[in-house]
């Protein structure tokens, strides 16, 4: 039975439980003289039945769906004779996909070992057993739950309180999901990173000056060993982010100041949404713009000036990333500038200072912590930005401070290492997770500091 059909059946059962629960409550109320003698409204009795019917069944269903494939895979592999048992992770993945292909009929059985064909048969068998068992267990649970709730309906039962308690727990679980996500991120990058640092010493990774993650394909191959020194990536990321911030911070800040302090309301009502459109442009569009328009333009200009500019120069990626960050910086600065109390502004103007003097000498110092927080947030965005650099920055890990040369960044390398066709636990893929860990730690620290500053600042004037 398909999972979709099972869900439909379950939905029908839940609706039935709701209707029957309501009916039962009315039935119980009738001899007592109407529903005002019930402790809760009939609706809550109905909801209670529906919850009893749905919750246990759905919990089992989700757990089953999450774990059944993994369990079946282990059982199938265990059923293989010892000489076919895979020796390492790579062989294991290969074998699993082979068995899967035979089982789905994509690979004829006479192409493979008899044992593999048997395993494929077993896979199919186990899968159908699992699907059947799941359907039976889920439906029985739903029926038992619904019946239990139906039987227990009585006039004195606090149905509303029970329903509300369940809802509260559900709400809380939704809020806790944020914590679960963070924990998931930390563990998923941390585990793979620890495995990576088992193969490559952490000092080599953090301080090595050479990045060329090509592993030898065969043991006897003469080719490179693979070097995982991430310093060129850190340097490249910093270079591009610095260019982006040099563009975005002055432009964004000055736009915010102009819009908040000088602009006519008509200009404001036009320019502000226009800048917001810039914020809504997907990063892949910026990447396209950088790679196909800005980078060739910069190269041509450089050539006419007699400079040698790489076709994937850091400057192009940085400039476009700066454009992307303008609305971000400007809206954050706008928030902090308008949060400076009116009285400070008026006092300064009243003493005869010009507007620009007021801004430079009074508003700006007062808003500085908030602006610094905003710049930190923008920097963390620049470091974590992926698509612009994937499309417009290079792949070669050059260690240079020249913005006209091609550099590569952490995010570019993560994407390149993970979008190829390699197995899950080679040093190359693990390196991507180690880079992800670095990225996560850096941006996390920056965000924590930035949010702390912004919050502190906000409290100051409230």
């Amino acid at each position: 039975m398909q999972t979709g059909q099972l869900l439909l059946i379950l939905a029908a059962m839940i609706v039935t439980a709701f209707i029957m629960g309501r009916h039962r409550a009315l039935q119980v109320a009738q001899p007592l003289g109407g529903i005002r003698h019930l402790r809760s409204l009939p609706f809550y009795y109905a909801m209670r039945s529906a919850i009893w019917c749905a919750l246990p069944a759905l919990t089992v269903l989700v757990t089953w769906l999450v774990f059944d494939q993994t369990l079946i895979r282990i059982m199938v592999l265990d059923s293989l004779p010892t000489e076919l048992q895979p020796v390492d992770g790579t062989a294991r993945n290969l074998l699993i996909s082979q068995i899967g292909n035979v089982a789905s009929g994509a690979l004829p059985t006479d192409f493979v070992d008899a044992a593999v064909a048997n395993a494929a048969g077993r896979l199919n068998q186990l899968q159908s057993i699992s699907a059947m068992a799941m359907a039976v267990v889920v439906i029985v649970l739903a029926m038992v739950g619904g019946a239990w709730a139906w039987l227990r309906v009585s006039a004195r039962m606090p149905a509303r309180e029970q329903v509300e308690r369940v809802l509260l727990v559900v709400f809380m679980l939704c809020a806790v999901l944020a914590v679960v996500t963070t924990v998931g991120i930390v563990f998923s990058v941390l585990f793979e990173s620890i495995r990576f640092f088992g193969q490559v010493p952490i000092t080599d990774f953090l301080f090595g000056l050479n990045w060329s993650p090509q592993m030898a394909l065969r043991a006897d191959q003469v080719a490179s060993e693979g070097a995982f020194g991430a310093v060129p990536l850190f340097a490249g990321t910093l270079l591009i982010s610095a260019i982006a911030l040099i563009v975005a911070v002055p432009v964004g800040l000055m736009s915010a100041i102009y819009l908040a302090e000088y602009a006519h309301s008509k200009v404001r009502s036009f320019a502000k949404p226009a800048l917001e459109v810039l914020a809504g442009v997907p990063t892949v569009v910026y990447g396209f713009f950088a790679a196909l328009t800005v980078a060739p333009f910069i190269r041509d200009v450089g050539q006419s000036l007699g400079l040698s500019v790489a076709s994937e120069s850091a400057l192009a990626a940085g400039l476009v990333m700066g454009i992307m960050l303008i609305p971000f910086v400007s809206s954050l600065s706008d928030d902090v500038i308008t949060a400076v109390p009116r009285a400070m502004r008026d006092a300064s103007l009243g003493l005869g200072a010009t507007r620009s003097e007021t801004i430079k000498k009074v508003i700006f110092p007062a808003a500085l912590p908030g602006i610094m927080g905003g710049i930190l947030l923008a920097a963390s965005r620049a470091i974590g930005e992926t698509m612009i650099v994937v499309m417009a920055a290079g792949l070669a890990a050059n260690l240079t401070a020249n913005p006209l040369q091609a550099v590569t960044t952490i995010t570019v390398q993560i994407v390149t290492l993970l979008t190829g066709d390699q197995e899950f636990d080679s040093a190359k893929t693990l390196a991507a997770f180690a880079l992800g860990l670095m990225l996560f730690i850096t941006t996390l620290l920056m965000n924590v500091v930035a949010l702390h500053i912004v919050k502190k600042y906000r409290e100051q004037y409230e």
Partner: protein, 422 residues
């Protein structure tokens, strides 16, 4: 006149100049931002508008049973293996009788798209009586020939057609045997290696299913979390911890969510790669903080007097929240939801991590079919060398931006229409 006044008067001109300068910096900054926006849009529209139409050529096609190697058009097997290219080739040779030699003939045949063969087969399948007859048909041109016709005079010299092919195309153009029409395949097909046969429908469907999963999960979960944090959560360390987590997740780079999806959903749970379901799950986790933060703001905006009035009438805390606060906060929440969805629709990086970059020709039929999404399609086409794919990429961007701008406008309009000021 006192010394101070004297001093002030002396410096006044300088101060006013500084004031003017400062104002000019501001105007400069705004102009840079607006100029960038203008450049971006004109660049993309200028590159992309040509992908919305395509050229086709009029040819006298004879459904000759011998060339087609088909004697019974009702036999599906024969239809499948029919030699349709031969018919197109013959029609072209009939149009240009002077062309001799294998090389030249091949160059001539290359002008018409291979999609023409599929079209002939479809026609024959629908009306078998066509066999043996001659019809004038408008057949799709190959992308290089198409680009040649779309290019301006100056750029035609550098087109990817040989000189001979260019003369043929010019002859066809002068005798009005080519015409431009709406590019249907752009909106009715999936990806393809041939630019003239590639379309964005597959990517749009993929985006649709991904967004469906994201919406179905992130909106209810986000609202529930916001309700809990705003109305029920006790003021303690754990609640603070949840809040810190949410604020940080909002600023975590999106690619990290992709790593999470790869390690947990695909690695640990064994879900398939490249499917909208996993993409939707990853984007749900990514958009949740946005939705939670905006929903909390909407709940906060509901005045306490509403809550007090409902409680005074005997409603329980949960009843107050579900029956009074939520309906009043809903417009604000929906606005936040739409903005979150727009963010998810434009997102690319995490989807690259979970394998939604595969080359997929078939149109996805559900959330469990391998698919790609619009922004990823843009990324894939942007890295193709063909000139036609550059226009296609720009066209895909225009479609994507249309969706995004519509969504954001909707959010703004909703905020204006439905928001209640207390």
């Amino acid at each position: 006149m006192s010394v101070t006044t004297e001093q002030v008067r002396k410096t006044l001109a300088r101060r006013y100049r500084a004031e003017k300068r400062f104002k000019a910096y501001g105007i400069c900054a705004i102009s840079i931002g607006l100029l960038a926006l203008l450049l971006l849009f004109t660049d993309i529209i200028g590159k992309g508008y040509r992908a919305f139409y395509e050229y086709s050529v009029a040819l006298q096609i004879t459904f000759d049973p011998e060339s087609l190697e088909i004697d019974d058009p009702r036999d599906l097997e024969q239809l499948q293996y029919g030699n349709y290219e031969a018919v197109v080739r013959e029609a072209l040779q009939a149009r240009f009788p002077g062309v001799e030699g294998r090389e030249d003939r091949r160059a001539l045949a290359a002008l018409v798209s291979t999609a023409a063969g599929y079209r002939l087969r479809e026609m024959l399948e629908n009306s078998p009586e066509l066999l043996g007859q001659t019809r004038t048909l408008w057949l799709q041109l190959n992308d290089d020939a198409d680009m040649f016709l779309k290019s301006s005079e100056a750029k035609r010299k550098t087109a990817r057609l040989s000189d001979q092919q260019q003369t043929w195309m010019l002859e066809l153009e002068q005798s009005d045997e080519v015409r431009a029409g709406f590019n249907h395949s752009l909106f009715t097909r999936g990806d393809s290696r041939e630019p003239e046969q590639a379309g964005i429908l597959g990517a749009i469907l993929g985006s649709f299913f991904t967004m469906l999963v994201t919406l179905a999960l992130s909106f209810p979960i986000g609202v529930a979390a916001a309700v809990y944090l705003e109305e029920f959560a006790p003021k303690n360390r754990f609640t603070d911890f949840i809040e810190v987590n949410i604020n940080n997740l909002a600023a975590v780079p999106s690619i990290i969510f992709g790593l999470l999806g790869l390690a947990v959903f695909i690695g640990l749970f064994g879900m398939p790669r490249s499917v909208p379901l996993v993409g939707g799950l990853v984007l749900t986790l990514m958009t949740l903080p946005t939705i939670i933060i905006s929903s909390r703001a909407a709940i906060k905006a509901v005045p306490p007097s509403i809550r007090q009035a409902a409680m005074g009438l005997g409603a329980s805390k949960m009843q107050v929240v579900l029956q009074f606060v939520l309906p009043l906060a809903l417009p604000g929440m929906l606005t936040g939801g739409i903005i979150g969805m727009a963010q998810a629709l434009g997102e690319t990086a995490p989807l690259l991590m979970i394998g939604m970059v595969a080359f997929i020709v078939e149109l996805p039929a559900g959330a469990m079919d391998a698919a790609t999404v619009l922004p990823v399609q843009v990324f894939l086409w942007a890295s193709s060398p063909e000139q036609s794919f550059v226009t296609m990429t720009s066209a895909a961007i225009m479609v994507l931006m249309t969706f995004l701008i519509t969504m954001n406008t909707m959010a703004v309009v909703m905020r204006k229409r439905l928001e209640r000021r207390w």
